[in-house]
């Protein structure tokens, strides 16, 4: 057979797809299912392994990864198409879809210029205060509205300051990194604070409900987790300023020029005010009504109102939302449920416990370590939401208190500080081209240690007061 360079190039580009398929085929045909695991459970784990390889290396588009998850479940996973479809759309997927749309709707109103003005008035001109302000504002806003919206609104503010401080032939790499990481790490640290802070939080809530593991209200979540956000904000600022010492101690000129630029926005228009009120209503709904209606439904009510009042066009919404991601979350959650139903999750959980029991004899500590390690490591390779979607069912099968283990898993999935892929905020600042991959490592290990210590304190000192 004649093999052209085009064919070889295709093979080279798609090698991870071929590897995933080869591994899956070999496991399916050549390796029998373990005795303690059902045939279908084994097949579901094979599908998950193939999917992890595909998500990690992205040899095919994300929607294609989602699609293969669907048909493999039907062909080799022992599920019917209706079963897979039944788990495909749920409140977590509605929430992810709704919050992505709300982000587009809010950002398109131009409210970030007012936000910039507010931050500057609050922080003044000193660089360390600006970095602290960026971290705090990003964390607090992100805890309610999610990191992607916050980073999209904050990045232009930081880049404008960077532009106004730039001088030819003079490097401001410390200042640039400090400003950008204060947004990314601030938003990431904050995203655990409330259920609406990230898709992974809602995915875990969905698993709790689906598996009958109990539930947490919006307020209960805040009470249990928010102290960690508040502790981490000043420490994050300190780590950033120590890791990336800014070259300038004051940003007088840049702040003045930014103030002039954003002042051109004029007084707040009725449309902007109405958008704010609408979003405030969504937030209120999340806090007081999410137990009844679900976070996703309330987010969709917000999207409906933004569309109905003409504050955003459907064209803008559909263009700004990556539908492939929504498809993938639907598919990932459906296989997560199948992993639980077929016994695959329990088998993995038992295996992890048995493997590490000789190292960590205390079963509660062991469960916590497995939960945190699995989520923390995987989130640096995949995204945090995908991590929770895959790891969630395993963690909830470890035994012990599923709410506490679930919370630990969700929180540690936010520890994706080492790479640009884990958190949307990190990806966004990386895509600006102004920070490099090694910068994430330089600050990431300090952030990880700080976060692990904070989580340990939270679970040992704070959570016992509630459970």
């Amino acid at each position: 057979m004649h093999i052209s360079a085009d064919m070889l190039f295709w093979v080279q580009q798609k090698r991870w797809l071929l590897i995933a398929l080869t591994v899956g085929t070999a496991l399916y045909f050549l390796v029998p299912a373990p005795q303690s695991l059902s045939e279908n459970g084994y097949h579901i784990l094979i599908i998950i392994l193939m999917t992890l390889i595909l998500i990690l290396k992205e040899p095919i588009p994300l929607p294609a990864i989602a699609i293969q998850l669907i048909f493999w479940q039907v062909i080799i996973g022992g599920s019917t198409a209706n079963e897979v479809g039944g788990y495909f759309m749920n409140d977590a997927v509605f929430f992810i879809m709704g919050s992505l749309m709300l982000a587009v709707a809010i950002v398109s109103q131009g409210l970030d210029k007012r936000l910039a003005l507010g931050i500057i008035r609050f922080t003044g001109n000193k660089t360390w205060r600006i970095v602290a302000g960026f971290t705090a504002i990003s964390a607090i806003l992100s805890s309610f509205v999610g990191p992607h919206m916050v980073t999209a609104m904050m990045l232009p503010v930081a880049l404008t300051l960077i532009r106004y401080t730039a001088k030819k032939g003079k490097s401001n790499s410390g200042l640039i990194a400090a400003l950008l990481f204060s947004i990314a790490y601030g938003a990431t640290v904050g995203s655990i604070g409330t259920p609406s802070g990230g898709g992974r939080n809602v995915i875990m809530m969905n698993y709790w409900a689906e598996f009958g593991s109990g539930s947490l209200s919006y307020i209960q979540w805040i009470k249990m987790v928010y102290p960690m956000v508040l502790i981490e904000i000043p420490i994050t600022t300190f780590i950033i300023l120590k890791t990336f010492p800014p070259e300038l101690h004051s940003l007088d000129t840049a702040v003045r020029r930014l103030s002039v630029e954003v002042a051109h926005a004029g007084r707040m228009s009725a449309k902007e005010l109405f958008s704010l009120l609408l979003f405030g209503g969504v937030l209120y709904g999340w806090i007081v009504m999410s137990e009844i209606y679900g976070l996703g439904s309330i987010a969709l009510i917000g999207v409906f109102l933004f569309l109905a009042f003409g504050l955003v066009s459907w064209k803008d919404l559909s263009r700004g939302v990556n539908w492939g991601v929504i498809l993938l979350f639907g598919a990932t959650i459906s296989i997560g449920v199948q992993m639980k139903n077929t016994g695959g999750a329990a088998w993995l959980a038992d295996g992890s416990v048995h493997l590490l029991q000789s190292v960590i004899p205390n079963i509660d500590a062991l469960r916590a370590v497995v939960s945190v390690a699995l989520s923390g490591v995987l989130s640096n390779l995949l995204s945090s939401s995908a991590t929770v979607a895959v790891v969630g069912p395993v963690v909830l099968n470890l035994g012990g208190d599923p709410i506490l283990l679930g919370l630990a898993s969700v929180i540690s999935s936010a520890f994706g500080y080492f790479t640009a892929v884990a958190a949307p905020a990190c990806t966004i600042i990386y895509s600006s081209g102004l920070v490099k991959a090694p910068d994430f490592l330089r600050a990431g290990w300090k952030m990880a240690i700080m976060s692990i210590i904070s989580l340990a304190l939270l679970s040992l000192v704070w959570w016992p007061l509630f459970r």
Partner: protein, 306 residues
């Protein structure tokens, strides 16, 4: 050979060069501009940035849309702005080019690329393109989309692996600059054998010789003492083609390992032109090819004709 339709049209040549940053790409861009001006070719400059994980595609797109609202340019466009400035500096005599201002708002997104719209009616023959993804894949797509004749790449020692991939997979001819010295007068060394690419190599050789006035040598290497009819015929046809264009040519026939002979003969005072390998691509990948091995062992600038 002279009766056949030419394989390259010297009046509509299109060259492509990739840049990464002001720090690393200045020499490549400089040489690309110089070579394009010598051949009166249009020059495409492509910057291939890293693509964000598709997982966070919505967030990245949302941020970029918002950056537009703040008049902050798309990341990567600043590299193209730098490239345009450099091209202006390199051609101070080009008054039309000097008038062109980089406008980050004048961009057009199509086919997974961002193209900076430059006023072609003013005689600008430069194309500035931003792509995101893997370098070889994106350069392949750009070459296929715009039908470039030649890709100009740097070929520094630490990027040899990349150069191999580019040689193997790019669908155009490739010029690996290596240690090309623009002030030096090279001798053209054309490697002639019975492969299909030799005819096009000869046309390139003639074009370069005419443009630069460099003396031409052809080298045919046989592993055995006997030179087959194919090799002899190819050498004769090459000479006939040069003769028809009024270009003097010296012919050399040597015996030995082809790559070692090319490299020893070329030294550092030849500009090597050779055809792309016709070996099965898998064999090329596993065992290398003559162009790849020559590139590995030689410091001479090499034009690999496809």
């Amino acid at each position: 050979m002279t009766k056949k339709k030419p394989l390259i049209d010297p009046k509509s040549l299109k060259f492509l060069t990739a840049v990464s940053s002001a720090e690393y790409s200045k020499p490549t861009l400089k040489m690309g501009a110089l070579i394009a001006s010598v051949f009166d070719a249009s020059l495409g400059v492509v910057y291939v940035g890293e693509r964000a994980s598709e997982f966070h595609g919505s967030a990245v797109n949302l941020t970029r849309t918002n950056l537009d609202n703040w008049n902050i340019i798309h990341p990567g466009l600043e590299v193209l702005e730098w490239a345009l400035d450099e091209l202006k500096k390199l051609s101070p005599e080009n008054k039309e080019l000097a008038k062109i201002q980089f406008n980050p708002d004048h961009v057009y997104e199509e086919d997974g690329r961002v193209r900076v719209i430059l006023p072609e009616e003013k005689g600008c023959r430069i194309e500035l393109v931003l792509r995101e993804g893997e370098l070889v894949d994106q350069m392949r797509k750009e070459i296929q989309l715009e039908s470039y004749d030649l890709a100009i790449i740097g070929g520094s020692q630490n990027k040899r692996h990349l150069a191999h991939s580019l040689i193997q997979y790019l669908p155009s001819s490739i010029f690996v600059l290596q240690k090309l010295n623009p002030r030096k007068k090279y001798k053209l060394l054309l490697l002639v054998d019975d492969s299909a690419a030799t005819r096009k190599s000869v046309e390139w050789g003639a074009l370069i010789a005419e443009k630069l006035g460099w003396p031409v040598r052809t080298l045919t290497v046989s592993k055995t003492i006997r030179f087959g009819a194919g090799y002899q015929g190819a050498a004769d046809k090459a000479k006939a083609y040069f003769d028809s264009r009024g270009i003097e040519v010296e012919q050399f026939f040597l015996t030995g390992d082809p790559v070692r002979t090319f490299v020893e003969f070329a030294g550092d005072n030849h500009f090597v032109i050779m055809g792309a390998s016709t070996l099965n691509p898998i064999k090329q990948l596993l065992f290398g090819s003559k162009p790849i091995k020559t590139l590995e062992q030689s410091d001479a600038p090499i034009l690999i004709v496809r």
